[in-house]
């Protein structure tokens, strides 16, 4: 049991536990917190595999930006456990069962997969200089396209979020 394995099991437990927390907590804010924790665990895995760049980008993008947006929206709507809609027992059970079946089915598939041992020795493919070289040579076109995607998403979000001319009484303006 080396440190790598210990960290692996610890982070895995953390990831799975907080993932379960995401779907089980009644309070949306708690869900967000748990999800951030999951992301931290996943980032920990990345660091474990010496994918430092992705680890920190994961934190910045997911924890630092995306989840802040989620939290922001939840706060804007003032959602909490009291107003959280709940599904019926049967539907929840059906969800769990079907998810579980999917899990089992794919599990059946991957048990036959060849197992490759992960070498704990650090590699440098996950370092930023290495990734940068690949990104700006082989994947420069997808990179540019993704920037266009970003721009369009930004414009789209602005357009969607623009206030329509609603009656003054209907306005729910918070900021």
């Amino acid at each position: 049991m080396d440190i790598y394995s210990i960290l692996f099991w610890f982070l895995s437990a953390m990831a799975v536990g907080s993932a379960l927390g995401v779907i089980l907590s009644r309070n949306p804010v708690n869900s967000v917190m748990f999800l951030i924790l999951t992301f931290f665990a996943i980032s920990g895995h990345y660091i474990l595999m010496n994918a430092q760049f992705l680890a920190v980008v994961n934190i910045i993008v997911y924890a630092g930006a995306i989840m802040v947006l989620f939290l922001f929206v939840i706060m804007l709507m003032n959602l909490n456990a009291d107003v959280e809609p709940q599904k019926g027992m049967m539907i929840q059970l059906a969800g769990v069962i079907s998810g579980g079946i999917l899990f089992l089915v794919i599990l059946m598939g991957i048990t036959t997969a060849k197992s490759e041992t992960i070498d704990p020795a650090s590699t440098d493919i996950g370092l930023i200089s290495n990734l940068g070289k690949v990104l700006f040579t082989k994947y420069v076109l997808p990179f540019e396209i993704s920037s266009v995607l970003f721009l369009s998403a930004m414009i789209g979000a602005v357009v969607i979020g623009k206030k329509e001319n609603v009656p003054a009484s209907d306005k729910t303006e918070i900021v």
Binding site: D2, I3, I6, N27, V29, N30, M33, I36, Q52, F53, V56, V57, I59, I60, A63, G64, A65, V68, L69, L71, F72, M75, L76, N78, N80, L127, I128, I174, V175
Partner: protein, 356 residues
């Protein structure tokens, strides 16, 4: 002795370093509160704290004690766990940043090279950035959990402000990183060795003045400090996000702010003012033993940090507060385009002059 393949001495060394940095941060933060009051007093032609100890130097201790012994009030209809989590997160993120800071050059002690940096990761500046981006959670969660309108408004303000200014900050940083070619703070500091080299200043401040100004401005916003302290502007939101907090949880928030200020100053010093470098350091290094030299370097860094902190305070007590829409306009319509232009110009300069 090996524990799980890790050198125990290494662990001990890091633990000591972390403790020292943590204590140092807290100490600086404590005395930053004192300094702030003193600065404010000076600027407003008052005396400031002067009762506890000489020049009121014990005032922070007295404040701390008071905060510890105050009654803890947790609002009845708040989300308790998150209510407590808020200040903890604020404190956590504030102190985490210092992990990648190079506080001084390596020195040799008993045959071991000891680094004055907790972790030299090659994405150091990204780490800082990541932690800074998490900093907003403390404010947001605390404000939301308080179940108070003012707190909620304040936390939403804080969140959007932080996200908005992070962009400009990141872009201004990219220009800097294009100059340095490395994300490791150690490398960045190493490149600014001394003060004058090869006919030009080594410090990044002289290479990236515009970037510095943008970064500085964004730092104000990230720190929620005047003139960008909209999340806690008393005239509009009473106390802001920590309205419902009392006792040491309030203390944590206040403390976290000062720790953040300390860390920000450290980062600005490291990125733009050469970190622990100082003019004529080579001559000094030759003259003194490495341990002493390291201490001198740390001293130089601390001097810069204190200067930055004082600058933050001067600004706070000099400039009036922005309106919120002005703040947003400044961020989105001035700083981001400016940072982009700066980035483009820097890239052009690098491409056409320096790399030839």
């Amino acid at each position: 002795m090996l524990l799980l393949n890790i050198d125990a001495a290494f662990v001990i060394e890091k633990v000591i370093l972390i403790s020292v940095i943590l204590m140092g941060s807290l100490g600086v933060a404590m005395y930053a509160t004192w300094a702030e009051r003193k600065v404010a007093a000076v600027m407003q032609d008052r005396l400031g704290p002067n009762r506890a100890g000489p020049f009121g130097l014990l005032q922070p201790l007295a404040d701390g004690l008071k905060l510890f012994f105050k009654e803890e009030i947790i609002p009845d209809r708040s989300t308790q766990f998150i209510f407590i989590l808020g200040p903890c997160l604020a404190m956590l993120t504030a102190t985490m940043t210092s992990a990648v800071m190079p506080w001084g050059p390596d020195f040799t002690l008993a045959g071991r090279t000891i680094s004055l940096q907790v972790a030299d990761i090659n994405i150091g500046i990204l780490f800082v950035f990541g932690v800074v981006s998490l900093g907003v959670y403390g404010v947001m969660l605390g404000g939301w959990a308080s179940n108070n309108k003012f707190s909620l408004l304040s936390s939403i303000r804080a969140a959007s402000q932080a996200i908005s200014y992070e962009l400009a900050m990141g872009i201004s940083l990219i220009a800097l990183l294009m100059m340095t070619g490395s994300l490791s703070l150690r490398d960045i500091v190493g490149q600014q060795h001394g003060f004058w080299h090869d006919g030009y200043f080594t410090w990044n401040f002289f290479k990236q003045p515009v970037g510095f100004i943008i970064f500085l401005t964004c730092s104000f916003a990230e720190l929620n400090r005047a003139p960008f302290d909209l999340p806690e502007c008393e005239s509009e939101l009473n106390m802001g996000y920590h309205q419902e907090y009392s006792s040491m949880k309030l203390g944590f928030y206040l403390f976290a702010e000062y720790i953040n200020m300390f860390v920000s100053s450290a980062i600005i010093s490291t990125l733009f003012f050469g970190g622990y470098n100082f003019p004529f350091m080579d001559q000094v290094q030759a003259a003194v033993p490495s341990g002493v030299f390291s201490l001198i370097c740390v001293g130089a860094l601390m001097t810069k940090i204190v200067a930055m902190i004082l600058f933050f305070m001067f600004v706070r007590w000099t400039l009036p507060r922005f309106r919120y829409d002005q703040l947003m306009k400044l961020g989105w319509r001035s700083l981001i385009p400016l940072a982009l232009v700066n980035m483009l110009v820097t890239g052009g300069v690098i491409l056409f002059t320096l790399k030839k």
